[in-house]
């Protein structure tokens, strides 16, 4: 099969392709933005770099406000396994780290690093370039990809290093490079392949080495002949026989990971599974180019190509944009809005979402700014009841049952939607596009998906709370029993009197003993006829005093006196 790739260009490789179920043939609107070569966007004065531009944990800032940074310097490091770092797209000063508008369907604000560029665009010290990547250990190369903060540039923004980490039990035989770019209007991958095919091929060879694949298949839709030609030329120039361009028929959504794998290899990725389970890893062509930059040139991911198109933009074009550049600046550089502009969409017309305003930064995942006119993107009419025509099921490229999922999502029965494999839905919008009742089907699926995730999250939190509560109860019980044991011990000590100890107070006993001794002595003396000497030979005056005292004593304690006498 690899010989086929070495045929003379620009002849198309005769290679069998498979078809996937459903899909749509849409007017592609690609010509508008491919007329001019890609040009670098102007250096923006301010850049906003969201800490979360990828799937997974947000990045952790390693700079503080006031720091001077240089181009390519790490600003935020990845936190956890599934995360990606962020680098300074240009040199300048960190002005703030705090909430700013981000390109997200919620329209929420999120933490961003705000960078004021100094205009010098001075590079930081970069790691050593590795043109000899084939001699390097894949682990080293993967670490470099992680350092560079590379995420899937096709739109999902999943950290690439994670996807490149092999599972011991899942050997990879084929690397699929996704250059299908099936969504209308978007042309950034097309332009990249036309102008930088050598970088893409270089990246493909690195990726192949990292995952240990034998073959590389580059899938490109047949509406991009220039890109196909350029890629074949670059393959021939590299002399690599194990890379083949496969031309696939233009049909939306052939650029979906599972759909492209199906078209190129005929294999089906299992439901709820990943392509690695069938020995395939799929990467976008722009991701491959970014990997080549990181490995061969030692540069982190700080820019990407963004398509600006639609009837609402004066000069549709592709720009090489620094991550963090505000969309507003780019639109100004594309000649600004035309009077026909109806809205601004980030991404394509099928899977993109409307931005509430253009004061949002470009992120790693932002491939297209589409400003359609009212005619291009009409407001859908109010939905009508489902007539059960089944066209959605015919259009679904994943072979799901959109109608069933719709009923259950509408009824808010999340378990049932999952019985119909809701989470295999790629939200391509084919079902909603063909629906004669204009039901916003994808909206229902998105609602059900996020709702189900939230439920799952709540369940996990409840389990955590339950464990903590149980631990607390156990701890309190243990403390209580310890306290009781202590008390019991003390009580026992008090209850058992020591054998030799006097029952009464020793002081009292001593007094008693002394009194007894004195009484005995007195009695003994009286028996011998010895009286106290101080009562004989008294003067009459003294005698009177004694009598008076005796009378007083008798008056106060007569009984005691009687006893004594």
């Amino acid at each position: 099969m690899d010989q086929a790739a070495r045929q003379e260009m620009p002849q198309v490789t005769p290679r069998r392709v498979w078809a996937f179920h459903g899909g749509l043939h849409l007017p592609d609107h690609k010509r508008e933005s491919t007329g001019r070569p890609v040009r670098p966007a102007e250096l923006p004065a301010r850049l906003w770099l969201p800490l979360q531009q990828h799937i997974g944990e947000p990045a952790q800032p390693v700079v503080s406000v006031g720091d001077t940074v240089r181009k390519g310097q790490l600003l935020a490091r990845p936190k956890g396994a599934i995360s990606a770092g962020i680098h300074a797209p240009t040199s300048g000063t960190v002005v703030a780290i705090g909430p700013h508008a981000i390109p997200h369907p919620s329209g929420l604000r999120a933490d961003c690093i705000e960078l004021a560029s100094d205009g010098r665009d001075a590079w930081a010290e970069l790691p050593e370039p590795w043109p000899d990547f084939e001699a390097r250990d894949p682990v080293e190369l993967r670490e470099r990809v992680r350092w560079a903060g590379i995420v899937g540039l096709g739109g999902a923004a999943f950290p690439s290093s994670v996807k490149l980490s092999p599972k011991a039990d899942l050997p990879v035989h084929t690397l699929v490079l996704n250059g299908a770019e099936c969504e209308p209007y978007i042309t950034c991958d097309d332009m990249l392949m036309r102008e930088h095919a050598d970088r893409v091929i270089e990246g493909a060879r690195i990726l192949r080495h990292v995952v240990g694949a034998r073959a590389v298949l580059v899938g490109i839709e047949d509406n991009k002949p220039e890109a196909i030609g350029a890629m074949q030329q670059a393959i021939a120039a590299s002399g690599d026989a194990r890379i083949a361009v496969v031309v696939v028929p233009t049909k939306y959504p052939s650029g979906g990971e599972r759909q492209l794998i199906r078209v190129l290899t005929g294999a089906e990725v299992p439901s709820n599974g990943i392509p690695a389970q069938i020995g395939i890893v799929c990467q976008n062509v722009a991701t491959a180019a970014a990997v080549a930059d990181a490995v061969v040139r030692g540069r982190p991911l700080i820019s990407r190509i963004v398509t600006l198109t639609g009837e609402g933009i004066a000069q549709p074009c592709n720009l090489e944009v620094l991550i963090g550049t505000p969309a507003r600046d780019l639109i100004a550089q594309a000649g600004g809005y035309t009077p026909r502009v109806a809205k601004l969409i980030l991404g394509g017309p099928m899977m993109g979402f409307a931005l509430p305003h253009d004061d949002v930064p470009i992120t790693k995942a932002a491939n297209c700014l589409l400003a359609p006119s009212r005619a291009e993107s009409p407001t859908p009419p109010a939905p009508l009841p489902c007539i059960r025509c089944g066209r959605c099921a015919e259009a679904c490229p994943v072979e799901l049952l959109p109608q069933q999922m719709y009923w259950w999502a509408r009824a808010k029965d999340l378990d049932k939607t999952q019985d119909y494999n809701l989470f295999d839905c790629i939200e391509c919008g084919c079902c909603a596009h063909v629906c004669p009742s204009h039901i916003p089907l994808v909206q229902y699926y998105r609602y059900a998906k996020t709702e189900a995730w939230a439920k799952e999250q709540e369940k996990r939190k409840a389990e955590q709370a339950r464990q903590r509560h149980e631990m607390r109860v156990a701890r309190l019980e243990r403390l209580e029993s310890e306290r009781k044991a202590k008390l019991r011990k003390k009580k026992e000590e008090l209850e058992t009197p020591p054998a030799d100890a006097p029952a009464e107070d020793p002081k009292k006993a001593a007094i008693q003993a002394a009194l007894e001794r004195a009484a005995a002595k007195k009695a003994a003396l009286a028996a011998q006829g010895v009286a106290p000497r101080n009562t004989g030979e008294l003067t009459p005056a003294q005698q009177r005093q004694v009598e008076a005292a005796d009378a007083r004593r008798q008056a106060t304690a007569p009984a005691a006196r009687d006893d004594e006498d």
Binding site: P105, P356, E458, K461
Partner: protein, 189 residues
Amino acid sequence: MLVAIGIFTLLAALFGLLLGYSARRFHVEGDPIAEQIDHLLPQSQCGQCGYAGCRPYAEAIAAGEVEINKCAPGGEAVMLALADLLGRDPVPLDAAIAGEKPKLVAVIDEVRCIGCTLCLQACPVDAILGAAKHMHTVIASECTGCELCLPPCPVECIAMLPLPQTQRTWKWPYPDTARPAIATQQEAA
């Protein structure tokens, strides 16, 4: 006739022994139904059901002592799940707990806290950190929002705040059937 009686008596004795043996051999500790109910409850341990935590309430439901509509943080969803599990008819939520509340988290006003440790003792999930005469603070990720720390606080320095919505907790709204598309919804917003 006698043979038949003999056979059946023998069989009865045999099965009786078998049942007796398996009852001992495969004995299940605790009440599995209470366990299942407990797993459906939100575990905030708030006691609004009148029991000292989720587990006691689960046991009371399992024993049939109490209705399934007393869980305030769980709301209707939990009531329906319980009805489903137990095969009972759904009942309207108890009037005392009706009205769903947003998710809350306790926050201690650090200026007013006197370090009395009373809230520490009240927290059912040990989500408050502190020591006597030292400032206390709530571990937000562990707080279940049960509000049990509010009454013991002598200086009323604990406030229940709604959880802020972030990119990660945001959910797609239920489609507005009158205004369907995403784009149009946001235009209106």
